[in-house]
Symmetry: C2
Subunit: 267 residues, 2 copies
């Protein structure tokens, strides 16, 4: 029924990637030649600014201090920890979540390769959420001081940092819309479309995906209970919109999902 799941490749530098309007295929590079440098990384298009000169590209390499591997289930950073770095995800999949004093927990986002996490820590100099790896992961450690230094000199980097932060603000606006005004089916449909779209931008299928998170985590993100998530999946299956086998999801009717999200709530 399902293909063996398309996994993020262990070495993203060996993974051809097409992106955006002028997106060009980047030729695979043999693993041996890799050094810890953005200029060699084919995820660069995702987490670094485009259109840099050769000199600027060299400078950019300086923002990555090191790499760090995180085992599935362990945290990259925790609420309360001193903030020092932003992290660009090379491989793997994360969730971020905030907790209130009384132990309530809310997943605030799911992050995949090429995305940057840690922005929450800047204001208070301490992180205000947890970042947990949902599968074995590797990140580029980018000391924020270095980012700030460099973005004073490389205008494109400065602009890029601003855009990344603004993008996160806009994303959260969208989640607020979802949480504030959508019903369960609409939420799950929007969630699936968003996931598959981001995966597609990374070279994966437009119609097939493997969920890296539990129903409970999906539910937390969408403001629903895990049972509701499960039931809603089942309803989608009944309606022939998707096939679901545990965490494997195949979207059979993308338009139906889009219709569900944009259901005119005539008001």
């Amino acid at each position: 029924m399902f293909e063996p799941d398309a996994k993020l490749p262990a070495n993203p530098d060996a993974h051809a990637l097409t992106l955006g309007k002028g997106g060009s295929k980047i030729v695979s590079i043999n693993a041996q030649t890799i050094k810890v440098a953005c200029s060699n990384c084919n995820l660069r298009e995702l987490c670094m600014p485009l259109g840099l000169s050769a000199t600027e590209l060299d400078r950019i390499d300086e923002v990555v201090a090191s790499r760090r591997k995180i085992k599935r289930g362990s945290t990259l950073f925790r609420n309360g920890e001193k903030f020092a770095n932003l992290y660009a995800i090379r491989t793997g999949f994360f969730k971020t979540c905030v907790a209130s004093e009384d132990g309530r927990d809310q997943v605030t986002g799911f992050q995949m390769a090429g995305e940057v996490i840690g922005l929450d820590g800047i204001v208070q100099d301490h992180h205000t959420c947890d970042a947990v790896a949902l599968e074995d992961a590797e990140v580029c450690v980018m000391p924020f001081e270095r980012i700030e230094e460099l973005s004073r000199e490389v205008t494109a980097l400065q602009r890029h940092v601003h855009k990344i932060m603004s993008r996160e603000i806009v994303r959260e606006n969208g989640v607020m819309l979802l949480l504030g005004s959508m019903r369960a089916e609409e939420r799950l449909a929007a969630f699936l479309l968003n996931l598959v779209q981001r995966l597609h931008a990374r070279g994966f299928s437009q119609s097939e995906l493997v969920l890296r998170m539990t129903r409970e985590e999906i539910g937390s993100y969408l403001g629903l209970k895990l049972e509701t998530v499960s039931r809603t999946f089942s309803r989608f299956v009944e309606d022939g919109i998707v096939e679901v086998k545990q965490r494997h999801v195949r979207i059979l009717n993308t338009d139906a999902l889009k219709d569900i999200v944009n259901a005119k709530v005539c008001n």
Copy 2:
């Protein structure tokens, strides 16, 4: 029953303000002496970095290109409009809201004096939400290009811009927690506490406030219908937690509100 409402003063420069740990009273300045300059503005502590040298302060003045008055009910910017400026609120009160294609509407925040709006526009070079004045307002227009230029030179400004954006991200995380996991009473209690805390930081009462928005707008922000907001207010009144007369609210029992927010949802 209620005092004549404590309004934001028409001229904020005449409004003594205490803030933060080392917050010092700023002496009132006669209206005639005012020029369009942060160095003269007592909201500076809210929207600009602290601890600048005299030279830096002079430079900072350059970020404000002009001032702009917005009538109640009209927009500062709209979804889709070209992004060019950030705006620091001098007086008045705004809401920001996003709309989905199908006409759904979601208030994403309420902003008051000293707060900065427009950050959503940076990613796409176009605004993705509307900013509507809920009372007559005045803002400082800060061309973003100028902010970027200057923050390459003035490190404190650079850091400040980063913090403002990060603060917004963290705020939205909090709203997601609220929308995703709280019940109506908890949402409204959290909302009131947040508002009164921000007003208090601006020199207003800790217990009394005038809502600048309708029940419907509160509801949109909190992911509730206006009837639910109204009913929840009524319940608070019954329980002696607040007094409500239209938009005038007096908090009689702050601790009760805090208890409601932190109600142990034992899990």
